[in-house]
């Protein structure tokens, strides 16, 4: 199948190096300490953060840092075929683990000993790149909850189809079976924290695709930073002196 037309346009009319429209909203769950909705095109993810709070299960308490937990789930209505998915299947267990470890890398857990931070992410609409969207939403929610972090983490995916590196794959491109690289970076430190890759790709091409995904992450980081800054200002203005 042709994923990039001769004119250099993708199935949804984007250029190969173009990202889908991103939109973020802070404060969508009123009870949570921090929450956010993050959209990348038709992919929509909601995240809520509770904590730092008292550890619920005493035996899990860590004396020198906070315990971070994460639960990823996919709403039944998020995909085209609506069916009941068993809770805790292998894919979501793995993604929960990946999100948890990615966020743990940037949270300054040693500042909150013997407490617990819960991150809940749910996919409301799935159209490729849910993993990246979840990480971006979780970052926003953590920042909103006022949890100290080393750096923001942002994530973006890239693929390689029709010998063209493509940024931010949607569902059709994702399920084409081509290589799919998900990258998560710490933009300020310029380090890669998350890297997942599927399918077959020679090393030098992988480098290009990874570079492209990293650029995407940086663009998202700029957007997230703007949103957070605007949010902080608004809150401060309204609060008054």
């Amino acid at each position: 199948m042709e994923y990039v037309s001769p004119e250099g346009l993708r199935l949804d009319g984007r250029r190969p190096m173009e990202m889908r429209q991103i939109r973020a909203e802070i404060g969508s769950v009123s009870k949570a300490d921090g929450s956010a909705i993050f959209e990348m095109g038709n992919t929509k993810v909601i995240a809520a953060v509770y904590g730092p709070r008292e550890v619920q299960n005493r035996s899990q308490q860590i004396s020198d840092r906070a315990l971070v937990r994460c639960e990823y789930s996919m709403a039944n209505f998020s995909t085209g075929d609506r069916m009941r998915k068993p809770k805790g299947d292998r894919r979501s267990t793995e993604i929960s683990l990946v999100i948890r470890q990615t966020m743990e890398a940037c949270i300054l857990t040693h500042l909150m000993p013997r407490s617990q931070i819960d991150i809940y992410v749910q996919v409301l609409q799935a159209d490729g790149g849910t993993r990246s969207a979840c990480i971006n939403a979780a970052t926003l929610a953590l920042a909103d909850a006022g949890i100290p972090m080393r750096d923001l983490v942002t994530s973006c995916s890239a693929g390689y189809l029709n010998s063209t590196p493509l940024l931010d794959l949607n569902y059709v491109e994702d399920s084409a079976g081509g290589p799919d690289v998900t990258v998560g970076i710490l933009p300020k430190l310029d380090k890669v924290t998350l890297l997942q890759m599927d399918s077959k790709l020679p090393i030098d091409i992988l480098e290009n695709v990874m570079q492209l995904a990293t650029e995407g992450c940086k663009a998202i980081a700029n957007y997230i930073r703007e949103i957070l800054l605007e949010n902080t200002k608004q809150l401060e203005y309204r609060r008054g002196s």
């Binding site: 909203e25 802070i26 404060g27 009123s30 300490d33 921090g34 904590g51 730092p52 709070r53 008292e54 906070a66 300054l108 909150m112 000993p113 013997r114 407490s115 920042a143 909103d144 909850a145 006022g146 949890i147 100290p148 972090m149 080393r150 750096d151 923001l152 933009p187 300020k188 430190l189 930073r225 949103i227 957070l228 800054l229 605007e230 949010n231 902080t232 200002k233 608004q234 809150l235 401060e236 203005y237 309204r238 609060r239 008054g240 002196s241």
Partner: protein, 327 residues
């Protein structure tokens, strides 16, 4: 962006926007670069010996924020003040919350902080108001004083990095009865000299807990009675309420007039409106909202209407600008 969650019509939207603009112009933030997000560098003008406070870290010699908030500078200290976050206890804060556990010699309270707080039995006045050693009998009777689920008010005695200890060494602290507990974001409550307020006009007590819980309840005078006249009530049996048989006298004491209840609700709604708009919650602002609602002849349940919210916002902007002019 954390929007104000209201269903506004077009004119209301415009009015609210205008208010927000005026608020922005009056804001005390000197310039835009004092608000930072995570991983922004904070300019320190190459000063030597800058002390890095909360919410900052060092990255290749730069001071970098680890939180979203406002940069505050006190002499050489630079720190970031967060807006939305959990409550961070400071000594002497007045907190309100629920008892979650009756443990040995102490109660554990969930005060919306990263840890539960302890209220030691020895750190509170006994109901009889007598200063004495706590005996084993007292320990057994702890549940008669506070039970799980009771809302109590106390003061932070010591908040070291891990354990948070509370005290309730005055009769004004203790169990709260006949009223409402409201939850607001902790950053909306400012630390002030006075957190216990009595709205004489309405016979309503207002306690602004620093941890983001606001108590609106019936005015209680009885608390002072105990201090004034400890001899009469020195027998603990009299004071400890017996769960099963509530005496007529006590029922009478617990009775709250309907009018007072209405005022409690009105005050509570005033706090809620301020909280949705994200304005600081102080005695003055609450009073103002209550007055505004009465003068507008609004029913209590109409206070959440968009029109009223916009009205409150406009009033607040006016108040702030006038107070600024005075200065």
């Amino acid at each position: 962006m954390r929007e104000i969650q209201l269903q506004l019509n077009q004119t209301q939207k415009l009015r609210l926007q205008k208010v927000l603009e005026t608020l922005q112009s009056q804001s005390s933030i000197p310039n835009s670069d004092s608000s930072v997000t995570i991983s922004d560098s904070i300019s320190v003008n190459h000063e030597d010996g800058v002390l890095k406070g909360h919410g900052t870290t060092d990255h290749n010699g730069d001071v970098v924020a680890t939180l979203c908030g406002i940069v505050e500078r006190v002499n050489k200290l630079v720190y970031v003040r967060t807006l939305r976050s959990r409550y961070k206890p400071e000594d002497g804060d007045i907190v309100i919350r629920r008892v979650v556990e009756v443990a040995q010699k102490c109660w554990r309270l969930d005060i919306n902080c990263s840890q539960n707080a302890y209220l030691m039995l020895s750190a509170m006045n006994m109901p009889d108001g007598v200063q004495r050693r706590r005996t084993a009998v007292d320990e057994l009777n702890m549940r008669r004083i506070f039970e799980e689920g009771d809302v109590i008010c106390a003061e932070v005695r010591r908040s070291q990095h891990d354990d948070i200890h509370l005290q309730a060494r005055s009769q004004k602290y203790g169990k709260l009865n006949a009223g409402q507990l409201l939850t607001v974001a902790p950053y909306l409550v400012k630390r002030q000299k006075q957190h216990f307020h009595h709205l004489e006009k309405f016979d309503v007590d207002l306690i602004l807990g620093c941890n983001g819980f606001v108590w609106v309840g019936e005015h209680v005078e009885a608390r002072d009675v105990m201090v004034e006249d400890p001899v009469n009530l020195s027998d603990p049996q009299v004071l400890i309420p017996n769960e099963n048989s509530v005496s007529l006298e006590e029922q009478d004491k617990n009775y709250t007039a309907l009018e007072t209840r209405n005022y409690i609700c009105r005050a509570a709604n005033a706090v809620r409106v301020l909280s949705t708009l994200g304005f600081t919650i102080t005695l003055e602002s609450i009073k103002e909202v209550i007055d505004l609602s009465i003068s507008a002849n609004l029913d209590i349940h109409d206070m959440f209407g968009c029109e009223f919210c916009v009205l409150v916002a406009e009033k607040e902007a006016e108040r702030r600008s006038s107070s600024k002019r005075k200065r």
